[in-house]
């Protein structure tokens, strides 16, 4: 008895399946290729830069004037700008984000939460250039009424707006972590006579610690990598300062400033933005690793 042909093993069909699987694998592998490309490109261009500028000078010189005749290549002023603006942003975003998350997760009635979550999500979608405009033309004049000596560009107003901008990211991630804490822990706490506030602080927050820490780390790496707000509102002059009332450039703002000009491909000025980019990537990488470790070490399994 011969088998009907259409029920037999189809070689063509098998080959087609394998081909599709290989194609899909390639698409998935693109993300790895992107990472490799980012690292390879930054390292390649930075090597040329560091042949020109010793690493020691890059890390210790206190001036960053690569486009002047008397060029200095010290990354410290850009780091200080980045650290100060991010610190201001986090001083706003972490407390407000945490309080918002606790409120939404533990206190808010169902309808408030259902309304507030999509709204916060919408806020996260507003383009950063618009926040930059707001910082320069609304927040800075407002702050100048309180501190008359505040200059037109300042790390303070850029940082404040950046902080408000990242509240939604921090609060939504922290809230997800708190909601993942099982109900019976809360019920146990309530049964002991604890109020909602006590339960939130002493039961829910410790239980969700790893997720909340991850939310903070995400906030930090967003603040460090944020570009347009600082480029517009904090000025683009490298300035080694720890005072938020002064204007200063961040790493990202410097890259924008150079890109706006017309530097020839391959010049030392062109290479500086890749060295700055590599520094930025390493900074965010450090925070991501810290976040990963925190998550692993303090993860509560329910």
């Amino acid at each position: 008895m011969t088998q009907p042909k259409r029920l037999g093993y189809s070689y063509r069909r098998h080959l087609g399946e394998r081909f599709i699987e290989a194609l899909l694998f390639l698409m998935a592998f693109v993300s790895v290729a992107i990472t490799i490309a980012i690292v390879a490109m930054l390292v390649k261009e930075s090597i040329v830069f560091f042949e020109h500028v010793p690493l020691w000078e890059f890390l210790t010189d206190t001036e960053w004037t690569p486009l002047f005749d008397n060029a200095h290549y010290g990354i410290l002023p850009l780091i200080s700008g980045t650290v100060v603006s991010s610190a201001v942003a986090l001083l706003v975003a972490i407390p407000l984000g945490t309080i918002t998350a606790i409120y939404l997760s533990e206190f808010a009635p169902f309808t408030v939460r259902e309304m507030a979550k999509p709204f916060l999500e919408l806020l996260g979608g507003v383009p950063t250039v618009v926040y930059g405009y707001f910082a320069l033309l609304f927040v800075t004049p407002l702050l100048q009424k309180i501190f008359p000596e505040l200059p037109g560009f300042s790390l303070l107003s850029a940082g404040l707006v950046m902080g408000i901008m990242i509240i939604p990211y921090v609060s939504s991630m922290a809230e997800d972590a708190m909601r993942a804490v099982p109900m019976h822990l809360r019920e146990g706490s309530y049964a002991m006579g604890a109020t909602r506030f006590q339960t939130a602080i002493r039961v829910v927050m410790p239980g969700a610690f790893s997720g909340i820490a991850a939310a903070y780390i995400l906030g930090i790496s967003r603040a460090v990598g944020e570009t347009m707000v600082v480029a517009i509102a904090a000025g683009m002059q490298p300035n080694l300062t720890w005072n938020p009332m002064e204007p200063a450039a961040t790493i990202t703002a410097y890259i924008v400033q150079v890109s706006l000009g017309d530097l020839p491909h391959g010049s030392i000025g062109y290479q500086t933005i890749f060295a700055a980019g590599l520094t930025l990537l390493l900074l965010t990488l450090i925070f991501n690793i810290i976040g990963h470790v925190l998550r692993k070490r303090y993860r509560e399994v329910y």
Binding site: E17, E21, L24, F25, M27, A28, V30, S31, I34, T35, A37, I38, M41, K44, L96, I102, Y103, F107, P118, F119, L120, E121, L122, L123, G125, V126, P127, T128, V129, V130, Y131, G132, Y133, F134, L136, F138, I167, S171, T195, F197, A200, L218, G225, T227, M228, A231, I232, T252, I255, V256, S259, L260, H265, I273, F274, G277, L280, L281, T284, N288
Partner: protein, 307 residues
């Protein structure tokens, strides 16, 4: 109970209840700060920018005279860049998502890809700009073109599309797959005839959110060196003679909405800042509308979907 009488206990309870109330007020206040800031931002732009919004604003090129400047080249540029971004990121993101969810076996390569997608989402957008500058603009020789910008933004939103695809496919119950396999369908037939159609709404939500983000991204496009003063349009994609379609526009210099706005914001003249407000208003309405559509789609989906 011996040491403390009832009054003392009541006082303690009252104190903690007061704290509870105080925190609740603080919580509402914290929530309002984010919301009120956005309201202030929107109102400020509306007051400054709305009088500037007219038909001419959309059909004029940027100009040195603020009163007659418009956003024609900016919105055309944004549309074309988004076409490239969508054409690159959507198939690639869906393909990657399907692979990771349906095909990938649990091995080290899969794990590397998964960790990698999470990490890519945390890379600052300006780094993608540097990658595009080095790779697309100089290495591949695409120049400071629509193609380079579109591809840069595609890489940026790729993780968003991948994650949305995975979540949408994961939500489909396993009985659907088993049913298809029982009827002799191959893996790809199961994916293309069942899993992709059922997860289409979820994937679409992710794509819209990704594109809304790409529309507002400024930094990567500045980095590839997009010119800010463009008083012409890229060549038309439709031609009168055979073969009717032309891809010259891919290589054309361009500007986009956020770059145009940035350019106007950074000028000292107040008249240009009013233009910036108007451009910002268009940009915000566009991104908010896209995000709102996505959120609404997801809400509808959650409501209607019962397996």
């Amino acid at each position: 109970m011996k040491d403390k009488d009832l009054g003392e206990i009541r006082a303690i309870i009252a104190r903690h209840k007061l704290w509870d109330l105080i925190f609740m007020i603080v919580g509402i206040f914290a929530l309002m700060i984010a919301v009120l800031t956005f309201m202030a931002l929107f109102a400020h732009m509306l007051i400054d920018g709305l009088p500037r919004l007219s038909w001419d604003f959309f059909t004029s090129f940027p100009s040195r005279r603020p009163g007659s400047a418009g956003i024609l080249s900016a919105w055309v540029g944004t549309t074309l860049v988004m076409l490239v971004t969508a054409a690159a990121a959507v198939p690639m993101g869906i393909g990657a998502g399907v692979y990771l969810e349906e095909y990938a076996s649990k091995n080290i390569i899969t794990e590397i890809i998964e960790i990698n997608v999470t990490n890519l989402a945390g890379v600052p957008s300006i780094i993608y700009g540097l990658l595009a500058l080095s790779l697309f603009v100089h290495q591949f020789g695409f120049g400071q073109s629509i193609l380079s910008a579109g591809l840069a933004l595609a890489l940026l939103i790729l993780p968003v599309v991948i994650v949305a695809t995975r979540e949408a496919i994961r939500a489909i119950p396993v009985v659907i797959r088993e049913g298809a396999y029982a009827l002799g369908a191959t893996k790809w037939q199961t994916v293309s005839d069942h899993l992709l159609p059922y997860s289409a709404a979820g994937i679409l939500t992710g794509v819209i959110i990704g594109l809304a983000r790409a529309i507002g991204e400024t930094a990567p496009i500045i980095t590839i060196g997009a010119l800010t003063f463009i008083a012409f349009l890229p060549p038309s994609p439709v031609k009168a003679e055979f073969p009717f379609i032309s891809f010259e526009w891919l290589m054309a210099p361009f500007t986009v909405m956020p770059i145009q706005m940035f350019n106007w914001v950074s000028r000292p003249e107040e008249a240009f800042q009013i233009n910036a407000a108007a451009a910002g208003l268009v940009l915000v309405v566009m991104t908010l509308a896209m995000n709102a559509i996505a959120i609404y789609l997801r809400y509808r989906m959650r409501k209607n979907l019962k397996w």
